[in-house]
């Protein structure tokens, strides 16, 4: 199962953090800082895997990938395969790229909720549910479309829309 997904920039600023098991905010921050400390001490040309047991407790592995100014970090347990998770990050980034056309750090910041939507389509309750980038795109586009539509409806007086959705 996947324990956490984090996106942070090379300065250590968190851009996205999602923990699939509840942790208090302070603990989350502590973990993120711990991860960042390890990440920035890694040299170039080394493996993308880190033994994360000292940060996340027993049976946890960490895979990260560095894109431009961002680190994408997935933390998971022994039921996943490291190389596959590396490709899962690739799928995630490819999807972001398709969604935002040449994704950059700012896209992730400003479309915070959309990035969450994409992630939710991929990983659900800590399990990988979808690995096809085009399927994810389809779902996300449909959500945006319907959301836009429902937004338009809300401009109509509230009672009408309330009646509709029942």
């Amino acid at each position: 199962m996947i324990k956490a997904v984090m996106v942070m920039n090379t300065q250590g600023k968190t851009r996205l953090a999602k923990f699939y098991e509840y942790l208090p905010v302070e603990k989350q921050q502590e973990l993120i800082r711990g991860v960042f400390a390890v990440l920035c001490s890694r040299a170039e040309n080394v493996s993308n895997f880190i033994d994360a047991e000292s940060i996340f407790g027993p049976d946890s592995r960490l895979v990260y990938k560095h894109f431009a100014t961002l680190y994408f970090v997935f933390v998971f347990d022994s039921s996943e395969n490291e190389l596959a998770v590396l490709d899962l990050i690739q799928v995630f980034v490819e999807t972001l790229d398709r969604c935002f056309k040449n994704v950059c750090e700012l896209d992730v910041v400003f479309n915070y909720s959309k990035v969450h939507t994409i992630l939710d389509e991929m990983i659900f309750g800590g399990q990988v549910v979808e690995t096809s980038s085009s399927e994810i795109m389809k779902a996300v586009e449909e959500i945006s479309k319907l959301e836009a539509a429902s937004n338009a409806i809300t401009l109509i007086p509230k009672s009408a829309s309330g009646w509709r959705s029942r």
Binding site: E53, C104, T154, K158
Partner: protein
């Protein structure tokens, strides 16, 4: 920029992000965020803000919390948003709620109703959002409230909903298996879903279920195999292709499941061989994901019932991984090697140089993985090299977590495979000196026991040699500054027991050293206590030997200090020392017999040795002792104590009524265990900590439980029995646990910031000259490097007789070692070797042939079996047909007939049988010869000629 998503973001938010991005310090960032929180607090409570604005505030709130600030003031607004009708607002609300709240939060009660409603919504996106929240926010108690709706959604027309409902059900299963146990069959049903996405997602819960209970899912083997086959034959929609691989993630999950199902099950495994072999052949090893699938294949092959052909493919894949430049692949290769050597240990030898490269790699992750591999392949021939390497690495790192782990591994290996006592002591010294505070105190006690008991059963000289070498090394080590407490305790103990035993050091020298320790580590009470006791032992030995004892002045001043110590323990020890010194030789000999640490101490619980004294007293007119239960006047008080005792041990509330005092009394104190029960109520708080007394407490109470009162106090008695048991045992271990916890907590705080230095270190190592590496390889892969040269000289050359002699000698000596070891511990089965581990590794020059023969035999059998199979293929195939038709294969109905004809075609199986037999025959001969030649060349290159075996290797074997 960024607006393609169509999500509305205000300028304010943009400014916020920008200013945070430009913040030059954490303090500045905090100031900005606090300002933002103020703004949000003010605005968010405004009763009539437009929804769109509200949505943005919530997003900003999420952002603020992500940066580590408290946003709890806005949680309630996020909850309110989930009630909204607009999809956009509702989804935002759900997103925020899932990020903000946990399943036990007070606000959950306000959401459950909404979730219930939304799960029934016509709009599938609403249902999806609700399912998302269900995963995060529903706890064991609220599962029943939403379960019916979730189950209903399992049959929803939209595949996205079915997928999520399945996962939600899985989540429920994780949280509380009992609440959904009747619904587990749904996962099987979903496996047959028409949509590959749903099928793929269902594999996650199934994987977990199968991990828990393999046997109830054996019937699905054929279904999984046929799904995997269809996937590899590209029958899934193109959308699932990833880098030209057909649905690799689904393949990986399936392989994981097959690995579980085939583990130790020959019949199930045989069904998988074909498809796994196909994947090996088809996999594109140039892409990352292709290698991921390959790796999973290796894992599967090493888990299921072994098949020589697949093992060979796996070994090939591993060598490709290890030869790759990518660190990721090397890492996976090392990991896979660690799995495969359990089945075929001989493949390690081909990769020895690659493994050593990985060991010296600057990449820390890779290095650790390699140490893990070495740990798995340690045997008595290479233990010295491996443990030395591990200790070197342990010294070089600062990561306390890993240091602890590697230290305990060193200890474990040293205990299992130690070639000599000397080496063992030295190794332990190194481990303790560098990671003493991190290792478990149990390890220290083991070491003490080992020194006390010795390795041999009746070889006293070896034992005393061991002890005097320990004493000598400890006296030497004491000169070093800042030793870990645990190590000092061991040192003090050993010096006290054996410091003067061999007569090389005088009592005054040893006592002087002990006083130095107690002074140098004056803030460590435990060490001081150990030192005082050690002093007492030395003086006792001196007195018992009839020598005159004169205390050193520093020792005397130390004692004076301890006599007035705040620690009662120290005080007591000091007084005891004082008392012992005043006694005569005979008395001392009986209270402190020398070298009796291993003798069992029998505790006379009834204090029978006092009988004479008691009789005397009674004769002189003293009152005889009346057991507590027979004393009438004190009933109430003692009963009160008993109650009290129970209260203390059960911390929770008690819901049962208190029973009548009289009954408890009778049951509590059976006259049989008089002495022990007497002790308990009086001094309970003190004695609970000591191990003797705690063992008495539960036994007394369980005695009480078994007496007559069963009928009336049925439920109560059971509960009590357990409660008194558990606190008693936990208190005895709690102190040690606490310290361990304390240590690990310390670990956490300073784990980081060490990597850089270490990478430098390892880089330095990397420049090492190759001959050295070769030597290391030879010593690591000891047994195998010898076999490298043998085959080159030819198979049939009769072995020189000297070899045989040597061999038998080696065997004898190793047997000795083995028997020695047996004395102190049970040797676990060696993973790497087939049979008797020590014998085999001690005679490396012969055994590779045995191994080869061993390998050949089954394969020939296999081949012939296959031949039989091919002749009988016609009779067999209907069976297979039957198997396929029996499986619940309705998965891709349209394809079914295709698979059937493809799979169970008699010619195909026939051909397969034929090819395996020939290939197997080749494989057992061809590559080996070639390998042998290659290796021979390699060995010559290294300059290690067959006639001069590696000195490192043989020194310990024969010397």
């Amino acid at each position: 920029m960024g607006s393609q998503g169509g999500f509305y973001q205000s300028k304010e938010f943009l400014d916020l992000v920008k200013s945070i991005g430009e913040a030059r310090s954490k303090a500045e960032e905090d100031r900005i965020v606090l300002g933002e929180i103020d703004t949000l607090k003010r605005r968010i409570s405004d009763p009539d803000i437009p929804k769109r604005k509200m949505k943005e505030y919530i997003i900003r709130l999420v952002y603020v919390e992500m940066l580590g600030h408290d946003a709890s003031f806005g949680y309630i607004h996020a909850v309110k948003m989930t009630h909204d009708d607009s999809l956009l607002v509702k989804r935002t609300g759900y997103l925020a709620v899932t990020l903000f709240l946990n399943e036990d939060h007070d606000l959950i009660i306000l959401i459950v109703n909404t979730i219930q409603k939304d799960l029934k919504s016509d709009n599938y996106l609403v249902a999806c959002a609700a399912l998302n929240a269900v995963c995060k926010l529903i706890n064991e108690e609220t599962i029943p409230a939403v379960l019916p709706q979730v189950v209903e959604l399992l049959a929803h027309p939209k595949e996205a909903v079915r997928k999520k409902a399945t996962m939600a059900l899985h989540r429920f299963y994780q949280k509380s298996p009992s609440s959904v146990s009747h619904l587990v069959s749904n996962f099987r049903k979903r496996l047959c879903d028409n949509d590959p996405g749903v099928m793929g997602a269902t594999l996650c819960p199934l994987f977990e279920l199968i991990t828990i209970d393999v046997n109830s899912y054996k019937d699905l083997v054929m279904s999984f195999v046929s799904i995997l086959k269809q996937v590899t034959e590209r029958r899934l929609p193109k959308a699932y292709d990833y880098h030209q691989m057909p649905a690799p993630f689904i393949q990986i999950k399936l392989l994981k499941i097959l690995a579980l199902l085939g583990s130790g099950d020959k019949q199930a495994s045989e069904n998988m061989y074909t498809v796994v072999g196909d994947i090996f052949r088809k996999c594109d090893s140039s892409s990352n994901i292709g290698n991921a699938v390959l790796y999973e294949c290796i894992c599967c092959v090493s888990s299921i019932y072994p098949n020589p052909k697949l093992l060979e493919s796996a070994a090939d894949a591993i060598s490709r991984f290890l030869k790759s430049d990518s660190h990721n692949l090397k890492y996976m290769g090392i990991d896979a090697l660690g799995r495969l050597i359990k089945i075929s240990p001989e493949i390690a030898e081909q990769h020895q140089l690659a493994v050593i490269d990985c060991l010296e790699d600057p990449d820390d992750t890779l290095k650790r993985k390699t140490f893990e591999l070495l740990y798995k392949m340690t045997k008595s021939t290479n233990v010295e090299v491996i443990v030395d390497r591990m200790i070197d690495y342990m010294i070089s790192i600062n990561d306390n977590h890993y240091k602890t782990e590697i230290a305990s591994r060193c200890v474990e290996l040293a205990e299992q495979f130690a070639p000599s006592n000397q080496w063992f002591i030295q190794t332990m010294n190194k481990v303790f000196a560098h990671a003493g505070d991190l290792v478990n105190t149990k390890v220290a006690h083991n070491l003490m026991r080992l020194i006390a008991e010795g390795f041999g059963e009746d070889d006293d000289t070896a034992d005393s040699q061991l002890r005097s070498s320990a004493v000598e090394s400890y006296l030497h080590i004491l000169g070093e500054p800042k030793l870990p407490s645990v190590f000092l305790q061991v040192i003090c103990w050993v010096l006290g027991e054996y410091g003067t035993a061999d007569g090389r050091y005088s009592a005054s020298y040893i006592t002087g050293k002990l006083c130095d320790v107690a002074e140098a580590y004056s803030d460590d009470e435990t060490v001081k206590a150990y030192a005082v006791t050690a002093l007492m032992k030395i003086y006792a030995i001196e007195i018992a030997a009839g020598r005159k004892v004169d205390m050193l002045p520093e020792c005397q001043s130390l004692m004076e200090e301890f006599l007035a110590s705040h620690s009662t323990d120290l005080q007591q020890r000091a007084y005891e020392l004082q008392a012992v010194i005043g006694l005569d030789a005979h008395a001392v000999e009986s209270i402190m017999p020398s070298d009796a640490s291993c003798e069992d101490i029998e505790v006379d619980k009834a204090l029978s040795f006092l009988n004479g004294y008691i009789e005397d007293s009674i004769e002189k007119g003293a009152q005889p002792y009346i057991p507590e239960s027979e004393r009438s006047g004190m009933l109430n008080i003692s009963n009160f104590r008993n109650q009290d005792h129970h209260e203390a041990s059960s911390h929770g509330l008690r819901f049962e009524a208190y029973e009548l005092p009289k009954q408890t009394l009778q049951s509590r104190i059976p006259p049989a265990s008089l002495a022990s029960t007497e002790l308990v109520p009086v001094s309970e708080p003190m004695y609970v900590r000591e191990s003797y007394q705690t063992t008495i407490v539960p036994s007394a109470s369980s005695d009480a439980g078994s007496t007559e009162l069963k009928l009336r106090l049925d439920g109560v008695q059971k509960k009590w029995g357990r409660q008194t048991h558990s606190p008693a045992t936990s208190t005895s271990s709690s102190t040690s646990q606490k310290t361990v916890n304390g240590i690990t907590q310390v670990d956490g705080s300073n784990t980081s910031n060490s990597r850089t230095r270490e990478t430098y270190d390892s880089r330095k190592q990397h420049v090492e000259i190759t001959p050295e590496k070769q030597k290391l390889a030879a010593s690591l892969f000891g047994g195998s490097s010898k076999s490298e040269k043998k085959p080159a000289t030819g198979h049939k050359i009769p072995k020189p007789s000297s070899h045989v002699v040597e061999k038998s000698h080696a065997r004898k000596s190793s047997m000795e070692i083995a028997s020695e070891k047996k004395a102190s511990f049970q040797q676990p089965p060696d993973l790497l070797d087939f049979g008797e581990p020590t014998v085999k590794s001690a005679a490396p020059s012969v055994d590779p042939f045995k191994e080869l023969e061993g390998l050949l035999e089954p394969t020939t059998q296999f081949a012939s079996a296959e031949n039989h199979g091919s002749t009988a293929a016609a009779t067999k195939s209907p069976d297979m047909m039957g198997l396929y038709t029996e499986t619940p294969a309705g998965i891709y109905d349209k394809d079914d007939s295709d698979i059937l004809s493809g799979l169970s075609n008699p010619p195909v199986t026939n051909m397969f049988g034929g090819t395996t037999s020939t290939q197997v025959a080749q494989s057992s001969k061809g590559p080996n010869l070639k390998d042998a030649l290659e290796k021979d060349a390699l060995v010559r290159q290294m300059g290690v000629t067959p006639s001069s075996p590696n000195p490192n290797l043989f020194k310990d074997l024969f010397g």
